[in-house]
Each structure stands twice: as C-alpha cells, then as structure tokens.
C-alpha cells in the first residue's frame, strides 16, 4: 500500500513549469480559437460621407455576417490620407482587431511623394474590394463639352484641372494625356472627391479628374469624357472611351483600389486570425447579397473585384514605382 511516489524534484519542477506555461497560454489559445470575440475597428483615412464610407458600409454589411462580428469605422482624414495610416500604424495594437480600409491608388502614391514615419512594408493589404478607374469629366454646363474642345483649348491656354489630391492615379492619367496631346494642364488639388466634383460643376476649375465611382455618384450634374482605363459601366459614364483607345497609348489602368490592410506583425503573430479574415473576406465575394448591397447603396457593382494578398502586393509595388516616376510633377519639386 505504501506506494512511494517516484516524482523527483526535477520532474516536479519541470511538470509545474509546463503546467504553468499551459495555464498562462490557455487564454491566448482560447482567444485565438474564439476570434473574433469583439468588434473589429477599421480606420478609414478619409472623411465620412465620401466614396470610401459608402463602399465600406456596403461591403462590411455582408462581411460581418461571415465573420460573426461587427465593424466599427473610425474616420481619420487629413494630409492626403497620411493621418489615418499614421494613426493605424502608431496607435493601434497589431492584434488583428484593427484594420485599415484604404485606397491603394492615391494613398500608396503618397508614400512615394513623402515617406511616412513607419516602414511601408510593416503593413500589407490582404483584401481588395474594388478597382475603379480614374476619369476626366466636365460640369454639365461647362463650355468644354467634348474631349476635342478640351485638347483644343488646352493648346491655347493652360487649363485648370481639379483633382482630389496631387498624388492621385487620375492626376497621373491627366499628365499622360498632356504628354500625348501637347495640351497644357495645371493640376489644382481640391481636397476630396466632393470638392473635386463641385469644382467642375461650379466652374472653379475648367474640368476635373477623379475616381469614376465618385463621378457616377454625382449623377447628371457632370459629364464624363475620358476614362484612364476601361469603361465597365457604359452609359453611366456617358459611354466615355478609354484613353488607350483614343490615343493608341499603352497607359496602365489608373485605378483607385480600395482594400483592407493589416499590420504585418498581426499577421505574423496571429496566423489563425489572419486566415479567418482572409477566408471570410473571400466568402463575402461569393455571396450574391454583396451585389445587392452595392446596388442598394448606389455603389458601382461592376467595380467589385476580388483580390488577395498577391494582387494587392503587386498593385502596391506598381503604385510606388509610378509615384517615383511622376514625383517631380506631382510635388512641384
């Protein structure tokens, strides 16, 4: 009966250490298994009420049903999107409970103009929501009603052209148009899509260039004349032709592309959470309800275009390269 234990001191300490480790790790493991246990905050680096807001609400209304939690948007506009990214990278924990919903076009171009305080490789985009080509448009009452009018006038005098911000794919599209046609354009940053539409409509500028989704949302107050990419919506952009078709150029599509991004550290530390985010993101695209949500929110479902980590990385690299090329023209340097 007197069975003696063969538990040595060393064994006891070793077992205790392992048990303690398990106990300490348990909440973490349980946490990962139950992800997400709370709402996910999303930093949006533009003002509420704009295209990103509309796009985010439509997409997240379906994604939340797949992920099983809600999204809480926080709007941090300013300095051409820089504020939102700096807040995300500097003030949000890399725990996969905070994401950024940015525009890979203008916001990545921005890094080529002025590097941020963080390393641009410390975050990455993992889910592309849409690709939206830039376009050239005039106010419905503008004297310049055709592309020929614009080119002819641009050869006589320097035309003021509204743009959301200097570092924008649509701005690069316009500079390319100037190079091809010899017309003289002066980019005027009007701080945001709404002001850019207003500038063209009210005659503050001769015409504007902008992401076409925002131009479609402006309705019949504007008339689109040229697309810096493919016209996927036909009549809704007034059947405007592609710049490559009109001028025989081989300009890559000047796209705005909204995508969800995340801290690289969050993905490295929590691969299981990352996996859940990516699989549910993909499942959202497979759900027909997404299309309905976009149509209901007056979005442009034709621009919905799923992209994963690789597609986003390629887009980001292309934007940084394009930014370096046009930096002198966009920074006034």
């Amino acid at each position: 009966m007197s069975k003696t234990s063969d538990l040595s001191r060393r064994k006891f300490l070793g077992t205790s250490a392992a048990a303690s480790g398990l106990i300490l790790a348990a909440p973490h493991i349980a946490h990962a298994a139950g992800y997400p246990e709370r709402n996910i905050s999303v930093i949006i680096p533009t003002r509420e009420g704009g295209g990103a807001d509309r796009n985010f609400r439509a997409f997240s209304s379906i994604w939340k049903t797949k992920l099983g939690t809600d999204f809480e948007p926080g709007f941090f506009p300013g300095a051409s999107g820089r504020v939102g990214y700096e807040v995300y990278m500097g003030k949000n924990e890399p725990d996969a409970y905070s994401l950024i919903f940015g525009n890979m076009g203008p916001e990545v171009l921005n890094w080529a103009m002025q590097p941020p305080t963080f390393d641009v490789d410390d975050y990455f985009y993992f889910g592309r929501v849409d690709t939206d080509p830039g376009c050239l448009f005039v106010g419905s009452e503008s004297k310049l009603q055709t592309l020929d009018d614009i080119i002819a006038e641009g050869k006589k005098r320097k035309l003021n052209v509204g743009t959301s911000r200097m570092a924008h794919p649509a701005s690069i599209g316009l500079l390319s148009l100037g190079e091809v046609t010899g017309a003289d354009f002066n980019l005027i940053p009007l701080s945001g899509g709404k002001n850019t539409v207003a500038g063209a409509v009210t005659g503050e500028v001769d015409f504007s260039v902008l992401t076409s989704g925002s131009v479609i949302a402006a309705g019949d107050a504007v008339k689109t004349l040229l697309i810096f990419g493919e016209n996927r919506v036909g009549e809704r952009l007034h059947n405007a032709p592609s710049m490559n078709d009109v001028y025989g150029t081989d300009l890559p599509e000047m796209l705005s592309s909204r995508a969800f991004g995340i801290h690289k550290k969050a993905a490295d530390d929590h691969p299981d959470r990352m996996d859940k985010l990516m699989t549910t993101f993909k499942a959202t695209f497979d759900d027909p309800a997404l299309l309905e949500a976009y149509v209901a929110s007056k979005g442009t479902p034709e621009y919905l275009n799923y992209g994963g980590v690789d597609e986003c990385a390629a887009f980001k690299a292309a934007m940084l390269e394009l930014g370096e090329k046009y930096k002198p023209l966009l920074t006034g340097a």
């Binding site: 609400r57 051409s80 503050e204 019949d220």
Partner: protein
C-alpha cells in the same frame, strides 16, 4: 403654383403628421448641439443603423430636424456658460454671455431662440422659393471671391480690438499663426506640427474652441460665487423675462431677416459653413450699427446676428445638395450617404423624379423650426438657472464636460491636453487684456483663408493680381473697404457731434 403648389401642401401636412418624430428629435438635437464635440453629423453617424432602418420619409424628417435643433442647441451653453457647442456658435457668446452675466440669461436665450427659429424658417421658405437661383451662387463664388468673404470675417478682429488695437492685432495674428499649423493644401507638406501627428490635419477646432472659451472661463468664474453679477435677478426668473426677450428680438425683426440671409447665401456655397457665416454676420451687424460700441457688452443685435446667420446656413446647405448633388457641409454629406442607401439620387433630376423628397426636406426643416419655437421657448426660463449654480460645482462640471467634448471628435487623448493648453492660453489672455475671440477667429478662418488663397495662386500660376481678376470679386473688395472705413467715419462724425453738443 399649380402642380408644385399641390405637392407642397401635401408634403406640409404629411410632415406635420411626423410631430412624434420631430419633437423628441428636437430635444435630442438640443442636447447634442449643446455638448461640445458632438454635432448633428456625428450623431447621425452614431444613429445610422437606426436611421437606415426607418422608412425614407421618417429618416429624412429625423435627420433634418436633428440638424436644425443641433444648430440651435449649440447657442445655449454659448450664452449661459460661454461654451460654444460648435464652431458655428463661436460668435454667439460675444454678446450672449455678457447678457447672462448681467442676469439676463433668460432674455438672451429667448432672443437666441426667436432669432434662430425665425431666421431658419424664413431662409427655408426663401430657399424653397428661389432654389434654382440660389444654386447659382456657387457658380460665381470661387476661390478669389471667397478670399474676400474670409477677410470680412477676419476683419472682425480689428472691430473686437478697437479698444486696444495693438493687443487685438497681436491676438489675431497669434490665432492666424496657430491656424496655419498642419499640412499645406497643395502638396500636403507638414508645417509647424512640432512632430505631432495630431497636428497634421491642422489644429483641431473643438479643443481650441472649448479651451479658449470654456476652460479659461471655468478658471475665471471659480474666483466668483456665481456667474451672474447680480445673483438675485435670475433667482426670480419668470415668464416676463422670456416675453421681454421675445419682444427684444421681434423689435429687431429686420436685423433677423438680413443677417439670416447672409447665412443663407454663405450656406449655399459648397465648403463654406456656419462659422464663416456667423462671424461675417456679426461683423456686418456691428459695421452698420448706430451703436457699435455696445457690441461685446451684451447687445441684443450682437446675439441676433450670429444666431440668425448660423441657422440660415442650415437651409442654404440643402440647396447645393438637392439641386446639384453636392453636399454643402459635413452634415449634408452624411445625409447624402443615408439617402443614397434609401435609393434617392440627388442632383438636377431629383425634383423631376422624386419631387416629394426634394420639397419634403425643406418642408421638414420649416416644420422643425416652427415646432422648435413653440417647444423650446418656454424652457428658457428653466435653462437660465444654470447661471445661478455655484461655481464650485459649475467650474469642475464645465472642465469635465468640455474635456470630454474635446476628446470626442477624434478620440485622441492629445486633444484633451490641447484643450487644457488652450484653456491656460485663454486664461492668460483674459487676465492680460487680450481678446480670446480674436485668437479664435484667426484659428477658425485662417486655414480657410489660406486654402482659398493658395488655390487662387495655384490657378493663376502665382500671379497675385488674380485677386482682382473677377468682377464680383472686385465688387466684394470695394464692399470690404467700405465696411472697414464706414465705422471709422461714423465714429468721427459722432465724436464731432458730441463736441458740438457740449
């Protein structure tokens, strides 16, 4: 009249039927408007799930009422405790608070409610009748013209500083320098941010507003027992004081009319807003007044001007939204998102395709102002008691509320420290005879002036003569010079007349 008239009558009665939405929303709007940091825009965002769940017309009535009531609500703490709830009410305490301190808080509130309601109602009706013409204002007011409009507002610094010009100008320049912090509008280059990310988007308005006005005021009033100079006056508040306030406002009906029209016109310009309108209206009111020396001492006209103007802006903001599809301000932009979720397309075709929506928004505004007048006015008697709360309780409450208010818009702890910093600056300025309103005008209008100035220069390739390149701009320049010279000439004449009489 015809078809449109029939639609208007139908929409009016339908809107009246929404009294059960309008009245609770009025009180909600007064609360969110009165708390610094909250506003109609962020309340609509917070309540967006609720708004989206409502049917189209209910959601529309709710948003419009909240917008109007929040604008009116911002004036209440501005008058009673020197805390403007929003930048649009920043000119309200200039004369509202001195009235409250003199034991006339109840009259001041009544004046504010009457000016706001009548100004809002009148401009709504005018906007409804002249929408196609008003929508054209934005076609003529470009960056050059807006530079002059900004200068109208900024010239108020000189008026405020009239008693001590050097100190006034120093305060104004300090405000302009603070206002220039942030990234530039053309190339987004950070300037004067001292390495703080929180300054990239400029100095945040609400922390500056609550710091300069409210926190510094709390430091000052703690040295007294109560806010009012004559304690007994308010303790026996009665209906008579409310009616006296109403009479004071109605006797100046013409003042309400023209200052609210300033608000309407500025409101229809995309990007311009209530803060510009209230300062410009105050400056114009003082310029044409026969008693400019009374401004800043609790003069009813100095209270009527900003309150009528900032409520005139609310109806003006709807015009570019409905007619052109361009939101005139932040709240209108949120409305655009919500209405688009309901499938409404704004723009020129709105009044052809969905006339009841277009007219309905104005009608909701008109009914909201009507009901606001009837429901809020009687409350001024009770609200005015705030000024009799002992300062040992009131001052900590002001500081707590305003620091939270400073935090809310961006949710940065930094903004709370900033509000305290501005509080200390405001306290030192007051104790040394510098006018905090002059600093604030620089902070609010400086960045707008700079934006329009840089855009005008960029458009003209740096040619400074572009400032005189438009006919309307030149007319405005002349008006600006006249409005600056007129008070000086009138003052000299009055002084001469005094000497002759003596």
């Amino acid at each position: 009249m015809g078809e449109t008239g029939a639609i208007l009558i139908e929409v009016f009665f339908e809107t009246i039927g929404f009294w059960w939405v309008i009245i609770p929303t009025i009180f909600l709007g007064l609360i969110v408007g009165g708390i610094p940091g909250f506003s109609a825009a962020n309340t609509i965002i917070i309540l967006m799930p609720l708004t989206l769940a409502m049917n189209l017309q209910t959601g529309l009535v709710f948003m419009v009422t909240l917008y109007c009531a929040a604008r009116m609500g911002a004036g209440i703490p501005a008058i009673l405790v020197n805390i403007p709830g929003t930048a649009g009410a920043a000119a309200t305490p200039l004369d509202g608070y001195p009235m409250a301190k003199a034991g006339k808080g109840q009259q001041a509130l009544a004046i504010s409610f009457v000016a706001s309601s009548i100004g809002g109602l009148l401009t709504t009706l005018i906007a409804l009748a002249t929408m196609p013409i008003l929508a054209r204002v934005g076609f003529y007011m470009h960056s050059v013209e807006m530079i002059v409009v900004m200068l109208f507002g900024i010239s108020l610094i000189a008026s405020i500083a009239s008693q001590d010009m050097l100190k006034g100008l120093i305060a104004g320049f300090l405000g302009l320098m603070i206002g220039s912090i942030g990234t530039d509008v053309v190339y987004a280059t950070p300037r004067g941010t001292f390495g703080f990310l929180e300054f990239y988007d400029g100095v945040p308005l609400i922390p500056a507003l609550v710091g300069l006005f409210a926190v510094s005021e709390a430091f000052i009033i703690i040295e007294k027992k109560v806010i009012v100079t004559h304690e007994g006056d308010v303790r026996h508040s009665n209906w008579h004081d409310t009616f006296e306030g109403v009479r004071m406002a109605l006797a100046r009906w013409w003042h309400i009319v023209w200052t609210s029209l300033i608000g309407l016109v500025i409101g229809v310009i995309p990007g311009a807003g209530a803060s510009i309108a209230s300062f410009v209206a105050y400056q114009q009111s003082r310029t044409v007044s026969k008693t400019p020396e009374l401004y800043g001492t609790g003069h009813p006209e100095g209270l009527i001007a900003p309150e009528s103007a900032n409520n005139g802006v609310t109806s003006g903001t709807l015009v570019p939204l409905l007619v052109l599809g361009i939101p005139g301000g932040a709240t209108a932009a949120i409305m655009l998102v919500v209405m688009q979720f309901h499938g409404v397309s704004f723009g020129p075709s709105l009044f052809e395709n969905q006339p009841k929506i277009g007219y309905g928004m104005f009608m909701a505004m008109a009914v909201a102002y009507l009901l606001m007048f009837l429901t809020i006015l009687p409350l001024s008697r009770y609200m005015s008691h705030v000024t009799t709360i002992p300062t040992i309780y009131l001052a900590p409450m002001i500081i707590s509320f305003t620091l939270v208010g400073g935090f809310v818009p961006r949710e940065y702890m930094f903004d709370m420290y900033l509000a305290l910093g501005f509080g200390v600056l405001g306290y030192v300025a007051r104790r040394t005879g510098y006018h905090v309103a002059a600093i604030l005008i620089g902070i609010i209008l400086g960045p707008l002036l700079e934006r329009y100035f840089l855009l005008a220069l960029k458009k003209s390739d740096g040619d400074i003569m572009t400032l005189f390149s438009s006919n309307l701009g030149n007319v405005l320049w002349v008006a600006l010079v006249v409005s600056l010279i007129t008070p000086v000439v009138l003052n000299r004449r009055r002084n001469k007349a005094k000497v002759v009489r003596q």
